[in-house]
Symmetry: D3
């Protein structure tokens, strides 16, 4: 029995509020239950040095968590003067996941920076962030197209992400914090609406797991991502 | 004529949503028009080293702005590896303002950390932060009292803050961003509901100002703070 | 009774030694009693990136305190690897104060950096720094004019700064360290010799203060600034 | 055809030189072809603060690459003043992988720090590091047991790691640099000699991959890990 | 012919003003011609962690240069966030030189920190700093003895330092900046009044030098140090 | 009697393995007994900003020590976020020593970066590093000449370095760690095969030393450097 009473293959309620932020070209407040992430997409008409003059664009991401997004207050990374290894790992994952579904040549020499800031955390912040990031990115690119700055759509697919795990012996979908902190195994999947896998990261928290468990989690992830694509489509009016 | 069409002594709409954050002992989403600040109050049962064993508590504050809270994206302080001078100046002001109205002996050996994170900025983020911080602090202390950890109330007064300025020759209340960026003079006032001044910071942006201007801004600030105390009272059920 | 035996409206002895430093274009060793600050003005024929090509100059300031300028040794900011919030607040104030009285267009595309280094501290280091900075700046600009690099004088006024406070119930002028550390209220005023206010920063150290106290401190500040303008004039031969 | 001429399921030559370093409690120079990693295990009789007094030990890892381990010189992280996100991600992975096969209670209140320094890189540095780290750890723990400091063996299994990928449409084992830099898909597997999966990290470099590809890579990884366990056993005399 | 017109074995004028700083236990403003260094000695009744409980004291030094001590303004190390290699090298040398002439056991469990801040530079700042540091240290220790905190004098000798070099083919004493920046060879000597060498650091700036040159410079250094010991004795009344 | 049983003028065994590193233009694994340093020389076809357009090249060095190169593990400088004063001092010495024997004009506008990484330490790491650096540099420059990028040889001499010291009253050559940690006096000499001194750094560890001791150490250093030049010649086939 899951602490939340959810069925093994039951997601938390997904809410996506597009346009939450007034200034950003694209934005989305995404909620996976009590995990709330504010995502903005900022368009800049220039690319990082390594891409200058190559006729290609770039999509990158930064991630942060408000100090009291969690049960006990964490220290503020800006005050400590550096981002943790965890933060960097997550923001690299978000950027990589989005770049897989964007045609960077079609984007042209511009950069889109995705900021994912966790207002409240209850497990699964990176997967909520990726899922909401697609919405913010979609809106920002729709704006570029509406403004005539892009003629062809550089987005090739929807991308969503979800965590799965083995909790008390059962493979379950969309771990919340109580599950996450005691799961035996934990895996994050990033997938596209065409069925492809963009990233899989499975970790044994205590004992190693087997191939069967990996596949069971993958199947749950497909179920979860289906819900995410639907929520994304609704939020962006597609 | 103000860009917003407001009268010189007219505040923006104030909204204070108490309990916005699930985990913090006290929290408040405060909005002064399009300026939105999420404030949390975190209680820890220990004090900083310089106060250990003195039987006194401490109230401190940290301030941050999401990278895309503003018109153009600013760089993330955690990524740059340090907080700007402006950030430090603001968080020192917030902490100092709150300590003035708290009886630190009555608080006992515990620390309350106020985190003020600007989700969206349209001028006046520090004054909104201070005003909302009082609500978060009030709720956190009410909780300590309800839990029997405090018997006497350490809060001695309400504290609110507002900016005033001279815009196109007229003293106006509660500057928004378009006013703030072109005001001749700019002053922030922190005051209590007993009528006392906690902090005044007036700056000539171009030409020096005179005593009369200072007093005119102070009078407007009193009007604005009255509205803030009322909003605080409503948000905390007082 | 003030610890120093001074009358409430009595300044400490002001000494300003122009040309203290051999290499700088302008310099001044300023003493407000036992507070000694070495100020240099360095002229560079280029401006920061945000001003390039705009035909305007810039004046900026940096502030530091020698580790043993104070009663007990403080740690060296260069060794700690960062400037404190207090340091940044002060150097921002100094730069802002000087820019108010300089016509940056008339200065042309060059930058003047004011370095204020406290050799010995006894309260009021920031106000001594601003007051001495004007002398260093004046000398540096006189040199630019003598060298034919400037034809019109970009300095529009003298600027001075002084602290006031309420000590044992009485408003007093030019706080020294023993007063500063136990004052109920503390305010720094930056003013020009034309009578205008450039900056006012008043802080309640314990209980909030009232409008009358603010005005009383302002009046004392005018008295103190009068002495400062005279000392500046003498030091620069004006 | 692979650039190296290897068969798809053919590993590079593995060499493991135990005791390469004179001072460390355990050490190993591990070579996967032209990828050379020097691994040391350092035993300290104390644990990090979060474990003090809990009767448990800790295993952690740090990773670095000599500036000229690669084709073109990279900048030295110590000189830049921070470890890259990639470095942190890798050292977190190494530490996590080793902790999975160590009984931390049985280790007692001591910490073993694994340092993995890449002397020469040709792809697969993290997997070589993990595989060699097991040898260094095994030797260090054998020494603790020989010295009578441990009576029961806290190591529960061998752990090895290997990368697989899809190169020109074919799933291949143990990517070298030319393959790694142009692979369509890339996955690192950490597994134990009992057949369990400790970590799987698969990334689509260009297009998403499917479940079948993931399973094919997993099967290759099992083949590779078999060779690694044999080399580990030989190096440690087991 | 030396730029200054001095004879090859002629020092610049040495001035040592003891007690320059009001707060420090010992202080000295030392001038070697136009090189001016403010040195303070701060006594703390505790030692660094590695010495706790060993019944020994410690003497350490920190060095800094005001940004405009030099011909062109250098950047402030506190603002850059780190001390340069040159700064660290110099402060290590100063600390080491002083420790050689102090009986650390006789000093007892206390630390004396020497701060050397260059107000104006014209070559030879490190040697002036060491020479003045002895005066500040002497005064601080005299105070400890006068206060009855020390009964035996822990200072075993005077220590002085001077630079020599080969300028236009001639070995010269006490290089000023014009000589220093074009000398072929440059050596710093730290010596005691008993004739012993504490440190010698000779560097070929262009071509290697020979033993004879080294010895010629050493002889000049002895002459210079004689003058320094006399100035130290005078400044400390010995 | 030396701990190693060596005669006072006896070096440890020197081994120099050229071409140890596959990617670097020049490399050498240098061993002075149990001190092992991996040196690489990396050629870049650009110079640092201060040399651009001057038609001159640059040689610079970086130094590091693996955390467990020593008896007890030291912390990793990249993890601490800064290089120690010792590290900076050493790498400045290495760079300076090599620049003395290179004709930078003849090198042309390119930079050679020497990385010296200590794999195992037993005293004398800096002198081993300099001695091995010459080999790596020689190989890299031979490659530039073989590739036709240089026609004249910019290397003017061989450079070697060795430490000497006074151990139990006797001057000895090539200190190992047990000697180094208890030597009364310690000096590092950098010399060329033409007999010139490039750098001499002598330090009294306890009591000051005299001129005779300095000269005795210098004579030993000449013996040691002779062995080093021979080993360098052999390693580079000269």
């Amino acid at each position: 029995m899951r602490p939340s009473g959810r069925a093994p293959d039951e997601m938390r309620t997904i809410e996506m509020t597009p346009g939450f932020s007034r200034h950003a070209e694209g934005s989305c407040l995404v909620k996976f239950g009590d995990t709330h992430v504010l995502v903005t997409a900022s368009v800049e008409e220039r690319v990082p040095p390594f891409l200058r003059g190559k006729g290609e664009g770039w999509v990158t991401a930064e991630y942060g968590m408000l100090p009291r997004a969690t049960h006990t207050r964490g220290s503020r990374e800006a005050a400590k003067g550096k981002q943790s290894g965890r933060t960097q790992e997550i923001q690299r994952l978000i950027g990589r996941s989005l770049r897989t579904i964007v045609d960077l040549k079609a984007l042209g020499e511009r950069q889109i920076t995705i900021d994912c800031d966790v207002l409240q955390a209850d497990g699964g912040t990176r997967t909520a962030a990726i899922s909401g990031a697609w919405v913010a990115l979609r809106i920002a690119i729709d704006k570029l197209m509406a403004d005539g700055l892009l003629t062809a759509d550089p987005i090739r697919a929807q991308v969503g992400a979800i965590s799965c795990g083995v909790y008390e012996g059962t493979a379950v979908l969309d771990l919340d914090y109580p599950e996450d902190s005691s799961a035996e195994t934990d895996a994050n999947f990033v997938m596209t609406d065409k069925g492809g896998i963009v990233e899989v990261q499975g970790t044994a928290e205590r004992d190693p797991f087997d191939e069967e468990t990996l596949l069971r989690m993958l199947r749950l992830a497909r179920i979860g991502c289906g819900k995410i694509y639907a929520a994304q489509a609704k939020a962006t009016g597609r």
